[in-house]
Symmetry: C2
Subunit: 433 residues, 2 copies
């Protein structure tokens, strides 16, 4: 077991080269930083005890991590430890931070996390992304990231990476969104496009599949954190899956795994955003729900309106017992159950986390969903699987993106330059978001 | 990347305990043995060069492996190496061997592999396993294993393990076949049952899912050996999947992954062996083909007849252009394509290997199959996936079982006692167990 709550394999682990002194030092700096994330604040003495490093080494490592602004010292260790109490070392809040961006069919979202996992900035804006086009969208994304950079700079935080979540096939190594039919995107060079629009950004920019990032977020910081076998299913206009297998993100041979929205479980007469008929998305995607629940001119269809407000309206109608809405939700629940049963039969996960709109409207979906699971899952007792609703909601992908953006620092803390000679003052006040 | 062609995770890796001298020695013995399997025969000097171990250590390790009968020395290294030619070290043939057994709906099979991957024994017998019942079947399996032990003893080989492949849910750690509906088995304690019937067997006995073992075989010794992302689909009375993800067997949280035969892609009006309707198995399993291709009283339905002969008869009719047979094969090909498209969308494998009867009759299935893939796979160019026919045929699961049975020795060569003090004579005869 790795001590890292994030699947490091997302960007590969450190190369197995010769262990010169600098390499060992970097590796040990990362070890201490990751240990503080996993195990929580503790004294230098306890870090030494936990990691097997000697005390003098730990002291030197902590001093360097303080100088790089990655950890702070202060406070006295609480009871429960052996020996005299030590000064507490903990991850620095508000310093190095990761930016996650999601671009989806009808919204853009951005969220910034610091090393402690605290949210430094958060914004979600309604946009008709297919209408905006790739150039227009990347322009809006750059604005949003610019706002995030300004906001974090104002509180003294420094972005170390940006991860962009895209609902579709992504070739991460090339920085390209290969195929995102619901956005009408094909072969969009996201990384180059953003790099050009963010000339001052000194940090790494990556692009990833949205469901993969959401799965990482659930695994790293959701209610199911640490579940070694986890399947995440997004419910937005598109439907995608992100799968954690034995604690690692399933990527597939080309990074195209988890395209559950396009398996042939849907209505054979409905055309999918991808041009095919019968994809699962045609019966469980957001548009399937809206189509069944409301006439075309109903404002819940308007992509320029805030998605959460539109879903709140659906929820209100369901609570009021509106037949058409309840029937539409029931149909989604049945079809969702058929697909989740498939995922349980294939992956035998410990937990299936339903995100996006499934999480918002979940209580109207769970009864028909569970009836289908009971009828269709081959393993007794669902093979030990539970189905839960994400509490990260629409922030799962951006949280995963921010988490991945921070991974490089946890792998190699020397990526953040030493800017201070002593401990970081404890009175820093993060600005309001 | 591990240098082992078998996913060691099947039985866990060595515990990360303190590295005392004996542990290091065992680990290095395994390293040399696995290196010889992966890299092929070579001199002590080259082993040292390849592994980074020093020459004296390698010499001592090789001497011990010779004494344990696991490697042999002889022959002179061919051109291409640096320095003076050395005596070649290679895996010993005919010594330590692993036994694989498959019990399926209408046959039992057994195959024995030595360390070199050579087949020392192979037998497949027609049996109506559901009619025999669990007790009767385990009795027949014990007879078959007894025959294998006798045959290997006659050539001086010694079994180090037995793995039994079962078509259904298996709890390996408990040694139990949890649910195998096509066998009418539920909660059958396979390991205890065989242990009782094989009192002289001093080796480990394991039970595993058949498709998982077949996937391991394809990965370890099939045409697709080493493919890091591989999906295997069995075509027998039951249909199952085994999946290699990033070089490791996908097991799932309870070991129940890969139950693709029971996803809801089949004929909603057909009852599956599991009691549900609409499982994929109802349109692609062997019985679906036979039902469509021949009347009930046709001898191709007779489970007491040899399966390969029955399939040869189907093949003959297809070659002769018999309409009903061709139509039945076409329907299977279409449904197979729908399911394989699903697996490609979900796993994004490098290769999908079709085994069992799919491999035998594959040339009649591939055209409709590929038409469905072209229509249904979301990733361009099938996401880089190929679909191939297994050349291991019905031996895939037993080969995988034998391979897994040998894994313990590759992990820890000291499991095989040293029986000779010096180099092993070619005529060595280990005592019978």
């Amino acid at each position: 077991m790795s001590d890292s709550p994030g699947p490091v394999a997302v960007h590969g682990s450190a190369p197995a080269g010769p262990s010169d002194q600098a390499t060992v030092r970097r590796s040990n700096l990362g070890l201490v930083l990751r240990h503080l994330r996993t195990a929580g604040p503790r004294s230098r003495a306890r870090i030494a005890q936990d990691t097997g490093l000697n005390k003098a080494t730990v002291s030197s490592l902590v001093t360097e991590l303080v100088a790089r602004g990655l950890v702070t010292e202060g406070g006295i260790e609480r009871a429960g430890s052996v020996g005299r109490p030590g000064v507490i070392v903990e991850l620095a809040g508000g310093g190095a931070c990761g930016i996650g961006v999601e671009l989806n069919v009808d919204f853009l979202a951005c969220l910034v996390l610091d090393l402690r996992g605290e949210v430094l900035f958060e914004r979600m804006v309604a946009h008709d992304v297919p209408a905006l086009g790739a150039e227009g969208t990347l322009g809006e994304v750059a604005c949003l990231v610019g706002a995030a950079i300004d906001a974090t700079a104002a509180i003294g935080a420094t972005p170390v990476g940006l991860t962009v979540a895209v609902p579709g096939l992504v070739e991460s190594a090339a920085g390209v969104a290969t195929l995102a039919p619901n956005l009408h995107w094909e072969g969009v060079d996201v990384v180059t496009g953003l790099r050009r629009r963010l000339p001052g950004a000194a940090f790494a920019i990556r692009v990833e599949n949205d469901a993969n990032l959401a799965a990482i977020a659930e695994w790293a910081m959701g209610d199911e954190a640490g579940a070694t076998d986890l399947v995440y299913v997004t419910g937005e206009v598109g439907v995608g899956g992100g799968v954690i297998v034995a604690g690692q993100l399933l990527r597939g041979a080309s990074g195209f795994s988890g395209e559950v929205g396009h398996v042939s479980l849907g209505d054979p007469d409905q055309v999918c955003g991808c041009g095919r008929r019968g994809c699962w998305e045609t019966t469980v995607g957001l548009n399937a729900l809206l189509r069944d629940a409301a006439d075309d001119d109903d404002p819940v269809h308007d992509p320029e309106r805030d998605l959460e407000a539109r879903l709140a309206e659906i929820e209100r109608r369901a609570q009021a017992g509106e037949r058409r809405t309840l029937d539409a939700l029931h149909r989604v629940g049945v079809s969702l159950g058929i697909g989740v049963a498939l995922l349980i039969n294939v992956f035998n996960p410990r937990v299936v986390v339903l995100g996006g709109y499934f999480a918002v409207l979940g209580r109207f979906l769970m009864t028909p969903l569970h009836a289908e699971l009971a009828a269709r899952v081959f393993g007794p007792g669902l093979g030990g699987a539970r189905v839960t609703l994400s509490r990260l909601g629409f922030t799962a992908a951006v949280r995963g993106g921010a988490h991945v953006a921070l991974q490089s620092v946890f792998a190699d803390p020397t990526l953040v330059p030493a800017t201070v000679a002593g401990p970081v003052p404890a009175t820093r006040t993060p600005a309001r978001r």
